[in-house]
């Protein structure tokens, strides 16, 4: 082919700067409002909190720089260790919501008439505020006129004071917290089960996998995304456990049901608190724990995104 020069009949059009850089600028125009909000209310405060944790400050007067002293004090604070240990308990026991949710989901994954209603009723607890759940269970556990008390008395036993006994209190609150959380995991699994590949189940049937074997070898691996999310939301739920404790015990009796989230609030903002620096130090520790999960989650997401491209 003869390499004739292109017939440039039209003079090159001069386009405005915006027109030329349209695709580079537009996304920022869309992003700016959200970014500003997020920066002011989420990103900046994280760093401010970390910064405050190096101060002694009662929220009124001038803040005093104390370096790492708040952290040193934290290392020697029994309440902190109680809270940390309770957080660990929360993390571990809250995880029960995942298998329990799966179990309920399996139980409900049928097409009997009225199943939709049953499913929604089972999901119900998740929609209710944790404040209400906390109140319900406070009453439920009441040894004198709560359900637990009545049941014990029916059997002629002295009802335990679940929320008043350091041995039971954390477990009692976690059990209350599990109630909505199981419902949440159940829904995740129900939708997961909906998407389980029918052909793999059939292949499994031909391969002779039955019951638990089918569940373990064929179904569960397919539910991995649901499980992953269930674990993530449960971990976050466990570490954020604030409402229930605030309502049910306020960390009591004598701090034995405290967790970091509530302890932080208590130190920083409650009637006897106003140690902003110390509270921030606790929050920072909590944040660091959460950061492990956040990083893991982002890593997973990064892998997915890479795969998608």
């Amino acid at each position: 082919m003869t390499a004739t020069a292109l017939p440039d009949t039209d003079p090159p059009v001069t386009r405005s700067w915006y027109a030329r850089n349209k695709l580079a600028i537009t996304p920022w125009l869309f992003l700016i409002p959200a970014m500003i909000f997020f920066l002011i209310y989420v990103i900046a405060p994280i760093f401010q909190s970390i910064w405050i944790s190096f101060y002694e400050w009662d929220g009124l007067g001038a803040a005093e720089w104390v370096g790492a002293r708040n952290y040193v004090e934290l290392m020697d604070d029994d309440r902190f260790y109680t809270s940390l240990w309770n957080n660990v308990l929360w993390l571990l026991l809250y995880m029960l919501a995942v298998p329990a949710g799966l179990f309920v989901a399996l139980f409900l994954n049928q097409t009997v008439t009225g199943m939709r209603i049953y499913k929604s009723m089972f999901f119900f607890p998740f929609v209710i505020s944790q404040v209400v759940v906390g109140l319900i269970f406070t009453w439920f556990y009441n040894p004198d006129f709560g359900v637990v008390g009545q049941v014990w008395q029916f059997f002629g036993a002295t009802p335990p004071s679940i929320l008043g006994d350091e041995r039971y209190v954390t477990y009692g609150i976690i059990a209350a917290g599990l109630w909505p959380q199981i419902a949440y995991c159940m829904i995740l699994y129900l939708t997961g089960l909906n998407n389980v590949a029918a052909d793999q189940i059939e292949a499994g049937r031909l391969d002779g996998a039955k019951g638990w074997k089918m569940l373990w070898y064929v179904v569960l691996p397919q539910l991995k995304p649901a499980t992953f999310i269930a674990v993530v939301v449960t971990v976050i739920g466990a570490l954020r456990s604030f409402d229930m404790i605030a309502i049910m015990t306020q960390g009591g009796p004598y701090g034995s049901s405290n967790v970091l989230a509530y302890y932080m609030y208590e130190t920083a903002l409650s009637e006897y608190g106003y140690r902003m620096g110390y509270g921030s130090a606790i929050a920072t520790v909590l944040f660091l724990i959460m950061l492990i999960y956040i990083s893991y989650f982002l890593y997973r997401m990064y892998q997915d995104e890479k795969g998608a491209r």
Binding site: G59, L60, L163, G164, D165, Q250, G252, P253, Y254, E271
Partner: protein, 387 residues
Amino acid sequence: ADLVINFDDPNPGPKKGFEDAVAKFKEANPDINVIVNINDREAHKTAIRNFLSADAPDVTTWYPGNRMAPFVDAGLFEPVTDLWEQEGFNETLAAIKPTMSRNGEIWGVPYSYYQWGIYYRKDIFDEMGISEPQTWDELLAASAKLKENGVTPFTIGTKFLWTAAGVFDYLNLRTNGYDVHNDLTAGKIKYTDPRIVDVFEKWKQLIEPGYFIENHATMSWQDAVAPFANGEAAMYVMGNFSVDAYLNAGLTMDQIDYFQFPEITPGLPRAEEAPADAFFIPSGAKNKEDARKFLAFVAQPDVQTEWNKTIGQLPVNSESEIGDNKFLREGFETVSTAAGLAQFYDRDAPAEMAKAGMEGFQEFMIKPERMDAILQRLDKIQERVYK
């Protein structure tokens, strides 16, 4: 001019008392436009930090003693020493003057206070032939007798901690006296001091035989009224504000009565718990002139008389009249003859110490065997808080 007042009790009685007083004040000062904000007490406790520094009202309620210390120290309250001079409060309000003072100035004007003591079921006592105990031994004997008859001697609800502090304060005041109370809350005495240990040992004498109701850690003070009302428990170490609750729970004036916390160390001058409620002027107030007018107004004898009749408490002004109910009369008798008035453990001690201390009391009431560990922990905290 506008006068903004923040008040801290939305419950019907107190609210009415306050509103009536405000109405009267308006009548007397038609040119002042009074604006009131009424908050829930717990909310008020957290909110005050913000509004004092950010958007100060002209008058606010708050509590004397150590509770006012942070704001006084941060310069957020206006001293009213001159007002006291001018209006002669140094005489009429003398009872509360010490706790209203700090750094050589006086910081507010109290409008009400109330006595603490032991409220009891007179009908049960009568039935079992028990009379009002005057000494520690009599108290123990009365308790033993109640227990034998299937009645728990004391009700209490420690979910919100301060109720336990009331018991502790009384045991301490009666065992060691007013000065030890003040020294302890001022951080001058360790918790492992033998005198304090002695208080706990006394307390043990009530705890170990089971003289307090079970499950008190899950109950608020109101919850704890129930066993008292239905006869499962017969005594309650409480403040006078609780009388309403007894009546609401179905008890009649005849069924309940009051006695002073019995003597423990013989001959010790008797000090009492008598927390006061007061008005303060924030230093950021815009209309300080009218604010002072209002403070002067609420200290007037007739105003305090009316107000305290409405809320069933004691007026601070010595020229006011006491409501004609047996509790108020007995209460007035109790506090006016006391050798010293304590505010309360959690008002006298710094907040952080108070919190830790009260948790310790609660823990002790449930696990008395941990006494040593608890006291050592309190020492540790004390060391840090008062440094």
